[in-house]
């Protein structure tokens, strides 16, 4: 077992019995689910919307090169720069070099999972740049020196009083744990950063090929300030974010808002196609788009799992996942937690140590049901399991166990005899009070759960009694 897998099991065991954590997450997800339920009624046909989004992304991914080149050409025509990064290191290097060359001192960031993936903030900080996360949730986790808990709601795991304590300690000027007041403290703090920063870094929700525009969805307005005020704007994003036409946003924008936060539309849906134009009032002098591969083209080559790249990072599958709700976002120790993370991470660069993640699922399929672009998530978890097991033999105990199971299952008398033996043996064991002890063969379950009642009769015997035949 890899050290990452051991750490995962350790963290999961702690988190799953943390009832305070569970209550915080439950409350946040209850709010989310109520909002989604309410807003979904605005769609005449939600299934048709999912289907349309799936088709848009299918078209884009299966002609990816063509749409990326079209997007690049249009950005260049507006005097923007496009850099293609094969790895995290190349992307980070390009941005830090740019900041050094242009004499940048302060960088304001808006929320972007790809900048987490390339570890941009620590990279910039190592070179001496001052970096501010400006999305409120990201700002909070930056102050706590944590990674985002959730791809849409980075500080989901914190209560208002914990945030109030954090602000009191780090910022001051906090008089209550009223969310309104806390937001005002963050606004005041970040306002200075917006007006002094020389570089703004954003992600991208979509890259619109036919218009050469980066589409950015935010609610707070931080993404708009960060892409308007500093003299350089860098948008960092994965190559899979491209979509063919601007009209596609007429369905993608409402869908990402509903699945992400239960809104009918996010407050600000921004389209940015270049630096300040010749007759425009304001805006950056330079506009750079960094297109990141970092293993995506390898995932693209897997036709079976290609649709994983359809993901629009709404976080709906995290909210729906019973495993995520129980073990929490930080336990995954990955940029992308939850079902999408368990499918994606083992396939991205340096994913080798995360091969345990596809097994951390009950395969209930709730993720697939809620995915707004219809990614077949739970089957991909199975595909990943198959790929991982297929390339390596399991532990010896597992190999022997399955051989024995197969042998028993191939003969009905043998199976009946062995299951009788098991029932009798377990009943005796449990009467002796040895439930969950080292000699209990069911120990992996019974050490943390009460044993189920051992039935007196086999299923076949019960069937015979009730139906008269076997």
């Amino acid at each position: 077992m890899s050290s990452a897998a051991q750490e995962f099991l350790r963290a999961a065991a702690i988190k799953s019995v943390d009832l305070g954590h569970r209550q915080t997450i439950r409350r946040a997800i209850d709010h989310y689910e109520a909002a989604v339920e309410h807003t979904r009624g605005r769609f005449n046909d939600w299934e048709a919307a999912r289907q349309r989004c799936h088709e848009i992304k299918w078209e884009a991914l299966n002609h990816l090169g063509r749409y990326l080149v079209e997007f690049e050409g249009r950005v260049r025509a507006r005097r923007g720069h496009v850099f293609w990064a094969e790895t995290s290191e190349q992307a980070q290097q390009y941005i830090t070099d740019l900041a050094l060359r242009r004499g940048v001192r302060t960088v304001v960031k808006s929320k972007s999972m790809v900048t987490e993936e390339i570890h941009l903030r620590p990279g910039l900080e190592r070179k001496g740049f001052k970096v501010f996360e400006t999305d409120l949730g990201e700002f909070i986790v930056q102050l706590r020196n944590e990674r985002p808990y959730h791809i849409m709601t980075p500080a989901m795991h914190l209560t208002r009083s914990e945030i109030a304590d954090l602000f009191t300690e780090k910022l001051g000027g906090v008089d209550s744990d009223d969310p309104q007041g806390l937001v005002a403290v963050a606004r005041r703090e970040l306002r200075k950063a917006f007006f002094s920063a020389e570089m703004g870094v954003s992600g991208a929700n979509f890259l619109v090929a036919d218009s050469g525009m980066v589409a950015l969805t935010t609610n707070e307005g931080n993404g708009r300030l960060g892409t308007s005020l500093p003299r350089i704007h860098v948008a960092v994003t994965g190559i899979e974010k491209v979509i063919p036409r601007i009209e596609d946003l007429a369905v993608l924008w409402p869908v990402v808002a509903l699945s992400g936060t239960g809104q009918s539309l996010a407050c600000y849906n921004t389209l940015i196609g270049g630096p300040r134009g010749p007759n425009e009032t304001d805006g950056p002098e330079e506009f750079h788009v960094v297109l990141l591969d970092n293993g995506r083209s390898e995932l693209l080559a897997d036709a079976e799992q290609r649709d994983v790249l359809h993901c629009i990072r709404c976080g709906a599958c995290l909210n729906a996942c019973p495993v995520f709700r129980t073990i929490g976002g930080h336990t995954y120790a990955t940029t992308y937690p939850g079902p999408i993370g368990s499918v994606l991470t083992p396939n991205l660069h340096a994913g080798g140590q995360f091969r345990h993640l596809p097994f951390a699922s009950s395969l209930c399929g709730a993720c697939t049901d809620v995915c707004p672009v219809k990614i077949d998530l739970h089957h991909h978890l199975l595909h990943n399991r198959r790929n991982i097991v297929g390339s390596a033999k399991g532990p010896m105990s597992e190999q022997i166990g399955f051989k024995l199971w197969r042998w028993a299952m191939l003969n009905s008398r043998r199976f009946a005899f062995l299951s009788l033996l098991a029932r009798v043996a377990l009943r005796v064991l449990y009467r002796l009070g040895l439930e969950g002890s080292m000699i209990d063969p069911m120990r992996p379950w019974t050490k943390v759960h009460a044993a189920p009642r051992i039935p007196g009769k086999s299923f076949r015997a019960l069937w015979r009694e009730q139906h008269g035949t076997s």
Partner: protein, 222 residues
């Protein structure tokens, strides 16, 4: 030539594109055929009524006025309710002709003099188009610049009924026809005033953008 130079500085470009070409040699399973043929959204028959209703729901103050004359007075009333301070106004003939009516003693900074300052108490701009289905306002860089709709605590939009379209597909069609999509480096679809739900998923208004968004919608042009 310049293009070729740029690509030469970025060898990753060709390698990524080659990997994509190789990856797509194997076709993905066709997407499942569409089982539902229903319209994703219902049609919007009464655009004005729907716009007002959506604005009420998303915290936008929508002031419907008979004409631009009444619109000028409505803007003056909103400005009168604000603390003293500079206001930033998009430099457009229609807005220039309105300023004489506005609150005395206020400094006006025009978009032709540069972007809004940090201390602006309100910004006033036109819009590209209004969307009834979601109660949204599409602005562009031409509407006073990027900062004009986000920097100040109050943003006032002056618009006419002819700018109102039923839904998002109609809005994109309008932006294509008018050339706004091609001409601007920046567009933004604004729906309500700035908010966040990052603390316990509780909605709080006025994060970094305007706390107050006012649309003055004139039914007639004169």
């Amino acid at each position: 030539m310049e293009q070729a130079d740029k690509h030469a500085q970025n060898p990753g470009r060709e390698r990524i594109l080659a990997r994509i070409r190789a990856a797509l040699r194997e076709a993905a399973p066709q997407h499942q055929a569409s089982s539902t043929a229903g319209a994703i959204f219902a049609a919007v028959p009464d655009a004005l009524g729907r716009f007002q209703q959506e604005c009420a729901g998303n915290n936008t103050e929508c002031l419907v006025v008979p004409d631009m004359g009444a619109g000028t007075a409505a803007v003056a009333t909103v400005l009168g309710s604000l603390p003293a301070g500079e206001i930033f106004v998009q430099d457009a003939p229609s807005l220039r002709s309105m300023t004489s009516m506005w609150h005395e003693g206020r400094t006006v900074r025009w978009s032709s003099e540069g972007g809004p300052t940090e201390s602006s108490s309100a910004t006033i701009s036109l819009a590209e188009t209004l969307v009834a289905q979601t109660g949204s306002i599409f602005v562009s860089a031409a509407c006073g610049g990027r900062g004009a709709s986000v920097v100040a605590p109050v943003h006032i939009v002056v618009a006419g009924l002819e700018q109102l379209v039923p839904d998002l597909p109609a809005a994109f069609a309008r932006l294509r026809e008018s050339g706004a999509l091609a001409k601007n480096s920046y567009l933004c679809l604004i729906t309500g005033s700035s908010r966040t739900a990052d603390i316990e998923k509780i909605i709080v208004m006025g994060a970094h953008g305007p706390r107050r968004l006012v649309v003055v919608l004139a039914l007639g042009s004169s």
